[in-house]
Symmetry: D2
Subunit: 326 residues, 4 copies
Amino acid sequence: MHDYAFIVEKIPVGVLGASGYAGRELSHLILAHPALELRFATANEQRGTALRRGGHSITYSSTEEAAFGEVALVFSALPHGASRSWVSTAMEAGARVVDLSADLRPGSGCGDVPYGLTELARDRVARASVVANPGCYATAALLALVPFARSGLMAPGSAVVIDAASGVTGAGNSPRRELLFGEVAEDFRAYKVGNTHHHLLEMRSVVSNSGADVDLLFTPHLLPVGRGILATITMTLGAPISDVLAPWRHHYDGEPFIEIAEEPPTLRDVVGRNVARMYATAVAGVRRPTLTAIVAIDNLLKGAAGQAVQNANLMLGLEEGLGLPR
Amino acid sequence: MHDYAFIVEKIPVGVLGASGYAGRELSHLILAHPALELRFATANEQRGTALRRGGHSITYSSTEEAAFGEVALVFSALPHGASRSWVSTAMEAGARVVDLSADLRPGSGCGDVPYGLTELARDRVARASVVANPGCYATAALLALVPFARSGLMAPGSAVVIDAASGVTGAGNSPRRELLFGEVAEDFRAYKVGNTHHHLLEMRSVVSNSGADVDLLFTPHLLPVGRGILATITMTLGAPISDVLAPWRHHYDGEPFIEIAEEPPTLRDVVGRNVARMYATAVAGVRRPTLTAIVAIDNLLKGAAGQAVQNANLMLGLEEGLGLPR
Amino acid sequence: MHDYAFIVEKIPVGVLGASGYAGRELSHLILAHPALELRFATANEQRGTALRRGGHSITYSSTEEAAFGEVALVFSALPHGASRSWVSTAMEAGARVVDLSADLRPGSGCGDVPYGLTELARDRVARASVVANPGCYATAALLALVPFARSGLMAPGSAVVIDAASGVTGAGNSPRRELLFGEVAEDFRAYKVGNTHHHLLEMRSVVSNSGADVDLLFTPHLLPVGRGILATITMTLGAPISDVLAPWRHHYDGEPFIEIAEEPPTLRDVVGRNVARMYATAVAGVRRPTLTAIVAIDNLLKGAAGQAVQNANLMLGLEEGLGLPR
Amino acid sequence: MHDYAFIVEKIPVGVLGASGYAGRELSHLILAHPALELRFATANEQRGTALRRGGHSITYSSTEEAAFGEVALVFSALPHGASRSWVSTAMEAGARVVDLSADLRPGSGCGDVPYGLTELARDRVARASVVANPGCYATAALLALVPFARSGLMAPGSAVVIDAASGVTGAGNSPRRELLFGEVAEDFRAYKVGNTHHHLLEMRSVVSNSGADVDLLFTPHLLPVGRGILATITMTLGAPISDVLAPWRHHYDGEPFIEIAEEPPTLRDVVGRNVARMYATAVAGVRRPTLTAIVAIDNLLKGAAGQAVQNANLMLGLEEGLGLPR
């Protein structure tokens, strides 16, 4: 619980694309945030209807009606491809931006927008006028990989296998037949098999920039649960290390939103919380030093809206954890 | 549908350990089997209660009461460790045995009992007096791996990553807190992380005997579904091949219980059916030739009771698919 | 298992509206039916794609292309309102019809089409050229109520409360937001509260024609399961009776698809089977003689496609249970 | 969000039976409560292990070790039958008590302990030294019924039908086979059919004391969800009323934890919140004036731990909603 007795005036912000699962989660966080005021929330198809949270509410407007000039910061949860031009519009009106789409992320060909993996980019985020908020799968994978990459521990030329599974809110709330309860329940499936998921772009770019020369092999899966991502990651090390958790402990010492666990985390450990819970162990019975890491996050919080608010708090000079469920 | 108009007398068989999920599935298959008669089904704790299926039923007896001398074949679905001695008792009484426990499988130190991965060991199974029925995870993994191993296509010294997820019936029906609906629903977890699952023994042994010099890295996961296993397997090849499905097509040509699919299979494709449905694709954007395979089976059918009946049919000279849902 | 060794030629049938959950179930039953041949299956939006079951398959055509003249019987699983005119077209072409829509059911104002609650209308069904197949909720409720109504046991002027819950396949497979996994899982809801569900028409009509002067109060609910209906029915009797099951036993003696149970049935008892499983008990601690009945059916089998095949078997002079899972 | 800047010292409380679902929820609420301090939490079987919530934790002790003399109030979440004597022990040591078991509720034969249906008994609760916290089903039913009973609107001699469904946390977390995921998922069942559930005692007692002469017929059901109760209630009125919601509006005007809804509430509307969400409508097509009410609560919050904290807040002179998620 945060002490916010002395915040006199809230900072106005807006949300573009507020009716999807991530945009709605974001709007809920802002409506309950002690230092932010939700000035507008756009959702073209649901224009005129209200979004409620506790005692607070806001009426959806169209993106065209967004009063960019009245807010200090804009969150864009617009679809990939549709976000970039609205980000420009918002910035031209003087607002800072946290973009939850893939449009500005590393590997997208969009110059050098800071990548908001908060714990690993805090200073750049704090100074940025625009931040590319990481994808949900990328958040889970990179929080595990970057400390090993930066420490030079990954075997050069080796392959990292990332098998990750997400709840259905990761697929959005557009009504598609394959997302019906009657199709998803009692099922489990891999999709975009063969390294074709677009989160690979940002993962590869960040791992490479962190100094590791490795291949990434990523297979996403769809789980019959509402929320949560669990990533199972196998990586080869250049040499055995006595404490496989040391790189994480070094990078995440004192981090309030990173939990290094004694046992493999499960979705229930993290759903509803803006944390990444991480576990790793050496693999027995193989000839090269190898470790398996398990990372669990709530795809809508640490994997999207929660991390976006974490970044916005930094950009606005607020305490980083303000308004975030831990 | 099979033509069984001319079967005059059914062959008597028995089931040991018939109250667990696998034993119950097995008993159901036998009660509906056109050529087998379920002479006894043992379940010490539920002795005296009845097991029903359609119009048929049988009353559970204790293992001590089993009339081994009256049956041609015994299925043992007893727990690991408890099965071996009863298998001996049954064999001494003249019965042939399909053992669903891990006690006699390759890697268990139990000599050279034929391993009942039916499609890959048909001749040995048909002649055997006792068959070790494969584990559920091992069935999914080995059906994918053995054809590549036998064809000499796997890169020597490489590591194969097997991330697999199973429905809860794979964990048995003993009442344990972590298997309660309130704990499993909306959750997903890895377990036995770091290559500690006992199915690794049979997987390693069979892959090695098939001629491949590779490491296996296996991480099992628990899914919030009742039935089904999905295995996501990443393997490195010694050289690129033009058709990644060729080794499977070669080994499984005409196999009624193997389906080579154009798209990644899902659990719903296979639950309730004694099939393995398999897909593979080359992985893009990596330096060594690599492929990802997805295999789906019903853990209680092709992964346990179904394959056991398939083996028993062979051992008894019956049509291999008799009584099996396809 | 049925002896069908001597069926030389299969009877050609067709399905209209074969891509919804009921139409698909129906097509699967027919593809596996020993005496029926699926000559056409229409689904305008999926025209040209194939429906598969086991080794059999059929390619969807449009309704306009249906070869009514080539089949002995047509099943219509078209939407309510759209079915009636195609039923006429089929009948004019000489086909008999089982209509799964509500268009011709009692209370619809459509004259006197036989209502296919099979066990209670066997003779009329067998002779009919067109049968109105009952709604899923109506099947569950009426199988419980009609024997009491016919026996004159229901208290005149009393109210019967029917609270029933259905799996999502009862709501169809059109992609609607409220049927997404992310909305249905971990939820439960009542709908059409206040006696506004259209199945009330056929329920009232049949109960009244069975001789009971009672009010019906029906509240449907949506369950987070795929299949199954459980109806909880409270009715007041005119006088106490010693054996509350006697009216059912009398009407359903020897019926293969009706199970009178010693304990309240659950969905798992009936899913995948064309049966109604029924339980009743006297209610303690109330001043008027009252009983609570629990009825479970698979909404797609006994509640739709299964009963439709049961009716078609009768109409075509086949054994009533042919091709139906029991 | 509450202003608690000036609470200098927290009030010490204890929890008996803190490892069940209700006791754990209660402990979580207290650990996060701004004005309560959790001095002890007992759980004999898990003695010595820690219960964590956010940054807070407490180590389970045995009930025998409970320091009753150090706390102002004790919550007992002990099993029915085991609670009563520990309540006495706590009271003798000077603590006030909120008892979540059935031991002291109306109809239990335990004299006149105030019944903590907070909104309807606020004054008695505030002054009480011990309060019997209502059962979960009883909370849902009575919040709907009591306003009608007190207003004299229920038809004398009529029967009220309460069909209610609960998530599995209502059944506790003892490992029982029928609560396994493999048994509960994709299932739905009625239990204690025929008016045999023990919550009927308190329901009847409270309805009767509220002035209504009616019979209650209650059938509970088990839902494949974790949390939540939905009650569907049918009641006959003595005469038609123009606004069926008037009695609720009158009794619950301004109540922060009661929501009178325009549409039938669903579990998702209330899970995670200490509210009852209620809807009612007149029933069409019946001869006597009848209404159907739908009430949704979170069984662990408004149905147990949340209401217990609401009562404790009142007893301790705190703001009633302190520490409760709304």
